[in-house]
């Protein structure tokens, strides 16, 4: 594993990587496949319903070569967009270490936010598994709330095995000896 970019402290290791479920990315893959075949579907339907349409389009050279040229560029465009989407999916991750959670929010290619949440600052971790598919494939939303003065909330949707994530966070929070479930001083 290459955790160089995380700038971990001495003796700090990543215990678990919290990622979105693959179903999130599969949805995009299906959309890309559908879009890839869309010109072919339009072409076949046009041939059936408007047989004269392509006969009437005049181009200088080889018509089939021209269609192939633009279709190759179209597939290339989709191929690039697929990898842009995969990069956003793959780099959107929470790293849980023994000391903290490093939250990387890859909003888009040029917008990346990295936050650190120490276990002693965590007030609550809630998970939400809603619906048949989520229950079947074991994914759900995870929300981490901090207890500091300027309370923050971190959220990731469609997380794989959210129960394990919460369990790991709570167990390491307890190990730090400062459970957030204890009453806060002065409250």
């Amino acid at each position: 594993m290459l955790y160089k970019a995380l700038h971990l402290e001495d003796g700090e290791d990543v215990i678990i990587e919290v990622r979105k479920h693959w179903i999130v990315f599969i949805g995009y893959v299906m959309a890309v496949i559908f879009t890839a075949f869309l010109p072919l579907v339009v072409f076949v339907l046009s041939k059936v319903f408007f047989p004269d349409l392509f006969v009437n389009i005049k181009v200088g050279g080889n018509k089939e070569a021209l269609v192939l040229f633009f279709y190759a560029l179209w597939i290339l465009f989709l191929w690039i967009s697929l990898f842009i989407e995969w990069t956003k999916y793959y780099l959107d991750v929470w790293y849980v270490t023994e000391k903290r959670i490093i939250i990387v929010d890859q909003k888009n290619i040029f917008h990346r936010e990295v936050s650190n949440v120490r276990f002693e600052k965590i007030q609550d971790v809630t998970l939400e598994v809603q619906g048949f598919i989520s229950t079947l494939l074991r994914f759900g939303n995870v929300r981490v709330q901090t207890a500091s003065e300027n309370s923050q909330e971190f959220f990731m949707n469609a997380v794989r095995h959210p129960e394990i994530v919460r369990k790991v966070i709570f167990s390491h929070q307890n190990k730090t000896g400062n459970s957030s479930h204890e009453p806060l001083a002065g409250v």
Binding site: A5, E17, N56, A72, L73, I84, Y90, L91
Partner: protein, 82 residues
Amino acid sequence: MTSSQFTIPALPKISVPFLENLPVLFIIFVAFFTVYIIVSVILIYHWTQYGTHKGTMIFAETAFILVSAGLFTVAFLALSYY
């Protein structure tokens, strides 16, 4: 009223003048290739800088470059046969 009155009129002849010009198509190809190179550099930078699984990164880079190279070859050959 008979059904013969509803015949679809013949479509007009469509001409796409800029597509008849091979240099224009070549400029489209080069512009697309330039954009591809820029996007590839950005993506590969992200993968090498922030990626945490070496195997996944190598697989992603290989698949991305090989398939793209294949598609560019098809586009270039199509342009040659045009």
